[in-house]
Symmetry: C2
Subunit: 430 residues, 2 copies
């Protein structure tokens, strides 16, 4: 067996603690699987005196010194852009392989990180950055490397999924459900990154990059959070046998002469019979569609210390094996360099629920606005109640820009008393 591989662990929060625990508990198995023992050389934390559960001798506040020491592998679970970026660049530039769970960093600085890895021949693995324990990035990058992925669609944020599940089950409003989620520890003190879709957008960027061999950053992702989802939206969805989920959707568009990609994160109505509809609480699930493979689904725990640590350790075994056996895992593959188009050019469907005046000609007036924008209507449901009527329209696929203009125009019509709910629609069957 080879000489031990030295690991630097950066960060010791929920995930880092579990990584350290698994490294200790599984040391014999890890050594057998890697072909060499792994030893934890040090753990960099902000305040070494705040970690009584970890051997004090391992702790250091000087992360850069730890990275610069004679370690072979660096595991980063600090999160955020800095100091993670500087530390990982330093590691990669000196030929140290990196395993990171940092989605924000990957979604913004992948190009720079991969360039550093390529230059020194180091590995850069990040399975834990998306969908926690679910093996998803390795399948996209390796298992489907001989196929052509057309679509990735999934629930990749547990907090928003918990909130939307609660709203659906209890009929409560967004504020109330968020409060409950915070109370139970499903939402952070500052929930912005989750509820405004930043977290899901970072993950979508990473997924799209791998799926389409194209560099996609968080800034390329259309992002709409869940704070505007109302109890009325949920009720409207329920009437139609649907529920609302925050989805991350990465699509290859082949309509034009030029292939392109759209990447978006937004709430959408999906049929209650759709497999994603039954994904509740903190679970994640992702559908992948590829030309030859067809539809695939991956399901599991999307967050949490132990599940995320499982993904980190899987990567650690892989990069460690590469050290021992020689060779290197697949690096960034952005050769396709497809243009990333704005959501306005994506093809989507809309559900529009209106309160309209209940008099002759209203439906035809409203319908004419859709026709004017070349948006085809898939289903209409009108119900009178006194001198008002409820009018629900579900469209066929059309460019998002056309749908948005249609809704803007309708909202300004005198016969339309109120736009109760506007929501994109995803998943099979109407």
């Amino acid at each position: 067996m080879s000489t031990p591989l030295k690991v630097a662990l950066l960060g010791c929060g929920t995930v880092g603690t579990q990584v350290a625990r698994l490294l200790a508990d599984q040391s014999a198995d890890l050594a057998a699987r890697i072909g060499a023992p792994v030893s934890l050389a040090g753990i960099a934390v902000r305040r070494p005196n705040k970690h009584p559960d970890v051997p004090a001798a391992l702790l250091t506040a000087d992360a850069m010194a730890l990275v610069a020491s004679d370690v072979d592998l660096v595991v980063e679970v600090i999160g955020g852009i800095e100091p993670a970026r500087t530390l990982l660049l330093a590691a990669l530039r000196t030929g140290k392989s990196v395993v990171t769970a940092n989605k924000a960093l990957l979604a913004e600085h992948a190009a720079e990180l991969f360039a550093a890895a390529d230059e020194s021949g180091a590995d850069l693995y990040f399975e834990a950055a998306v969908a926690g324990a679910i093996p998803l990035l390795r399948p996209l990058r390796e298992s489907l490397a001989g196929d052509r992925i057309s679509r990735v669609m999934g629930i990749v944020n547990g907090t928003t999924n918990y909130i939307l599940s609660a709203m659906d089950e209890t009929g409560s409003g967004y504020a109330e459900a968020l409060e409950e989620a915070s109370r139970l520890g499903y939402a952070e003190a500052d929930p912005t990154a989750d509820v405004d879709g930043y977290d899901a957008a970072s993950k979508a960027a990473i997924l799209a990059s791998l799926a389409f061999h194209t560099r996609v950053t968080a800034a390329d992702v259309y992002r709409e959070g869940i704070s505007a989802v109302t109890a009325a939206d949920i009720a409207a969805a329920r009437t139609l046998g649907r529920t609302i989920k925050l989805l991350a959707i990465c699509e290859r568009n082949t309509g034009d002469n030029q292939e392109s990609v759209t990447v978006r994160v937004h709430p959408a109505m999906i049929p209650r019979g759709h497999p994603l509809a039954s994904v509740s609480g903190a679970f994640n699930a992702v559908f992948v569609e590829a030309d030859a493979a067809g539809q695939l689904m991956f399901y599991g725990q999307g967050a949490g210390g132990a599940p995320t640590a499982s993904a980190v350790l899987g990567d650690l075994v892989a990069v460690a094996r590469n050290r021992v056996a020689g060779g290197r895992g697949p690096g960034e593959s952005a050769y396709a360099a497809l243009p990333v188009r704005p959501i306005s050019m994506a093809s989507t469907r809309y559900h529009v629920s209106l309160d309209v005046a209940d008099r002759a000609g209203v439906l035809s007036t409203v319908a004419s606005v859709f026709a004017m924008h070349d948006v085809s209507i898939a289903a209409v449901r009108q119900e009178g109640r006194g001198d008002e009527a409820s009018l629900v329209i579900v469209t066929h696929s059309a460019p998002d820009a056309a749908l948005r203009s249609t809704v803007d125009k309708i909202a300004g019509m005198p016969v339309v008393r109120d736009v109760v709910s506007v929501m994109r629609v995803e998943g099979e069957d109407l």
Copy 2:
């Protein structure tokens, strides 16, 4: 870019045709992903004149000569033990990396094949051997390499799943459903390998080997097919809110002082609300449970030319990348060498449906037999009908041997008129 990699394709049936097609259609993408172009050097088939769709210059009846030529990679989609075994050993011994979809071969001769691969430093990949397009083996072998897998349970045979789904939907008997499946092309002319569970057992052996780092062969797998499943069994399951599926189950047992493994394939009742219950037709789905990751599910098309070819091509890209970049993928890892125990020592639950004489004391007499064998009863349902009564008993977990002895004993009791259905029970909730 490096010099082209030459590929030998052995077999050109449903899967081979698709592999050849994808190699041609995707050649530019494959070259970019691998870092070198791939060229198909030849296709070995039994009768070269029977493949009008393939360029005649590529076809040869001499598979061994093709393997012995200057190819870099060998893709085998012939199936069966010979001549596949001899051909792949010849390839591996001369340092040629192998991609195979051959579950029967892997489940019987993995040791020999891996030894040959290790000796020459070649790669041996076989993602397509289990669950078609579903990325499952790579996640087990690599993504979960830092975790401890406790259980793998899934539907891995499409033919039997189609038949059981049909029986459940139409109430038809086994023979009728099999006939329909044959007529529609879901069952082969000789369906033995599928309906008697041989195919699933091979796959279970492969899954258990990877999950538990232990060499498990098809002979180690307890195997019970679906031909004995009756319409009465399905009806009994339905009454209890359950359905019947042919499951492959690989378990790590920690009960004794000595860890061990049991691997079994048999029909089992699962709750209709269980995610595996809604997997219908030719689809496959597999649950994996690991200590840190928790529950994971993988779902997709388990068979068919294009889906299986997708998995083959993914492996082909991986082994080709290893050729170009240097290095080698993870080989066999059977270091744990856990003992494989017979199903009699596995812990299972039974559902037993009896027709009994409807008189005082029958329930207590029957129940005493369970108690005598130390089998705890979870639920009982008795319903009188004239001088007979229907008695349904569902047990808690107990050693399979104890359950079997209990049922044998009960079947011989004078008060028991008929044993209507005996079926193992899997999945949460009773």
